[in-house]
């Protein structure tokens, strides 16, 4: 009986000191301790249609390219003059939000070939050079823009990128970047 009393007293003292210890060490500690003893369940949620919150302009590639145009003799073969103009070109996707609906499913399947080709986001003229019989005015016409016509250079840049074999590589890399971007929003099986 005496021993039982002793154990109870010791128990009460321990409890008191635990409480005092907790208050002493800020109440957050006590909460943390208490938190461990509360029964807890596990919850999980599978989100199917997560959407990007913002439209991003995604730059994927840059190119520095010349457009070379020739003036030929009447034989159509011999070069009389050359106009060479150099440009910097930004390539990518203008509005990722617009692409999301159409392409996110393919992206989640990791099918980058199904992605759209990137677009020319902007081009800047760097320098021009005429040699032989090629007038400056003619050479300038590539960047002349009127209210009704597009700049000739924009069309020529895409043609040139295609001809030189750069375009396929650029398009492939851009599609991969877009895939990675759209994959952020795929729902994945929960990783546990």
């Amino acid at each position: 009986m005496k021993q039982f009393k002793f154990i109870v007293i010791i128990g009460v003292i321990v409890a008191i000191f635990v409480v005092i210890g907790n208050i002493y060490l800020r109440s957050a500690y006590f909460t943390a301790l208490w938190d461990r003893f509360i029964p807890k369940g596990e919850q999980s949620i599978s989100i199917q249609a997560l959407q990007p919150k913002r439209a991003d302009k995604l730059f994927t590639a840059f190119a520095y390219i010349p457009i070379i145009d020739y003036k030929k003799e009447n034989d159509g073969k011999t070069i009389k003059g050359v106009c060479s103009r150099e440009y910097t070109v930004d390539i990518g996707y203008n509005d990722t939000l617009k692409l999301f609906d159409q392409y996110h499913e393919a992206a989640c399947k990791n099918d980058f070939q199904a992605m759209p080709n990137p677009a020319l986001l902007g081009s800047d003229f760097v320098e021009a050079e005429e040699k032989g019989d090629y007038s400056k005015t003619d050479c300038d016409s590539f960047d002349t823009k009127t209210s009704t016509t597009r700049k000739k250079s924009d069309i020529e840049i895409l043609t040139k990128l295609g001809e030189d074999g750069q375009w396929n590589k650029i398009a492939e890399n851009s599609k991969k970047i877009l895939t990675r971007y759209l994959r952020i929003y795929c729902s994945e099986p929960s990783l546990k």
Partner: protein, 198 residues
Amino acid sequence: MKWINIFALLNVSVLFVLGCQFQTPDTQEKPIEQEILAKIRQDNTEIANLEASYSINYVNFYQSKNLIRMNGKKYFYIRNDVATVFYGYPLKDADIKVVTENNQRLLRVKLSQPKQVGGMSRYIVPNENNDPNYVPLDEKGEKADVEKYIKERLDKTIKMYEEKRIESTREMSQIYFQNIADRFGLKLQLEFISAGEK
């Protein structure tokens, strides 16, 4: 004797509480951090991968002159070289953590300076020439070192645009991590560490 025991018990209880306290704040962030890291690793081999393609055009023109006809035959040598480099970060160089600050969960990403990833690939694009036997001449009338000229121009151009490309690479990473943060309901805190700081 009894009082010594009570002091010992006080110590034990304090240590016990401290021990419990030790692991709690971090453990909540771990699963989401692991999930984000797994996602990034699954989809990427490196962070950002900007392709920069440089096409350098070389035009060499020479017109022969003689006493009878002032303008003689025109000679052209035109060459177009394409070089491609990639900019990005190796995945291991990105320090990605989920932390709580002022009751807000943050995706804290530290990235070092973007680097050129992999080597440079280079090739020559076929072009038109008037006379396949024409030996290109320089301004002094000597045989031009076309190779050296093009290489210098190429290196100069790549260097000239490098800062802007690094900027675009950062922008690309910014967009990527912003979307990762959006997706997991976190606030993004992206920091670019300059080379010396690390």
